[in-house]
Symmetry: C2
Subunit: 126 residues, 2 copies
C-alpha cells in the first residue's frame, strides 16, 4: 500500500504533499487564485485582461487544472455569444488567506530581494 503516510513529509517524492505543490506552487495558479479571491466571479476574458502576460493557452490550462483539483468552479451560461464565469469553490476559499499572505510577503520584501541580487552580482564579479 503506497498511500497512508506515517507522518506527512514533503521530502518524500511519493508524498501527496509534493503533488499538491505541483498544483499550488505555480506562478499562474497563484495569480489566478489570487484574482478570484478578490472578486467573487470573473469571466474568462476578464481574467485574460486583468492578468498581464498570460497567454490564452496558459490561462485555459491553469483554469482546467484548478477546476480538476476542486479549487475553482466553472459555470457556463447557455447564451450566445457564450459566457463563462469562474469562481472559487469552498475548498479554494480555504486558500485565500494563504495566497494573500504570499502576495503581501512578495510586495513587502521585494526591495530586500532586489538588494540581495545586486550584492550577489557584485560578489561574483570579482
Amino acid at each position: 500500500m503506497v498511500r497512508n503516510f506515517p507522518e506527512p513529509d514533503v521530502f518524500n517524492a511519493n508524498c501527496p504533499t509534493q503533488q499538491v505543490l505541483e498544483t499550488i506552487a505555480d506562478k499562474w495558479s497563484v495569480i489566478v487564485l489570487y484574482v478570484l479571491s478578490q472578486t467573487e466571479t470573473r469571466r474568462y476574458s476578464e481574467l485574460q485582461r486583468v492578468i498581464g502576460g498570460i497567454s490564452q493557452k496558459m490561462l485555459t490550462q491553469t483554469l482546467r487544472k484548478l477546476e480538476r483539483d476542486g479549487l475553482v468552479m466553472r459555470r457556463v451560461y447557455p447564451v450566445v455569444p457564450s459566457k463563462v464565469e469562474y469562481s472559487l469553490t469552498p475548498l479554494g476559499y480555504t486558500l485565500t488567506e494563504l495566497l494573500k499572505a504570499i502576495c503581501t510577503w512578495a510586495q513587502t520584501h521585494w526591495d530586500e530581494i532586489e538588494a540581495a541580487r545586486v550584492r550577489y552580482e557584485q560578489g561574483s564579479d570579482r
Copy 2:
C-alpha cells in the same frame, strides 16, 4: 521610470511581485526552504538525501537562486573533502511561517483534492 508602482498588483507583468513569485512559487524552492526552516543548518549531501527525487542539478540550481535572492546563506569550510553548509538568512526566516502554512494546507486538504480529481474524471468520461 518603470519602477515605483502606485499599488502593488500581481496582475501586472511588470510588477515585482510577479518576479518574486518566480522564485517562491516553485516546487523545489518551497521544499528546500521548508527543510532549512526545520533544521538550522544542512549540508549539501543531507539536502539531497532528505529531499526525495531532486536531482543534483536542480538542487544546486535552486540553492543558487535562493542564495542570490538573499533567502539562503551558503557557508564553505576550507577543509578537504569539502564541506558546505546551508541555512536560512533572516529574510529567509520571515518566510518560514508561510511555508509551514502552505505545507500544512497541502497535507490537510490532499484528500479533498484527490476526491475532486476522481469526480472530474468521471464527469468528463460521459
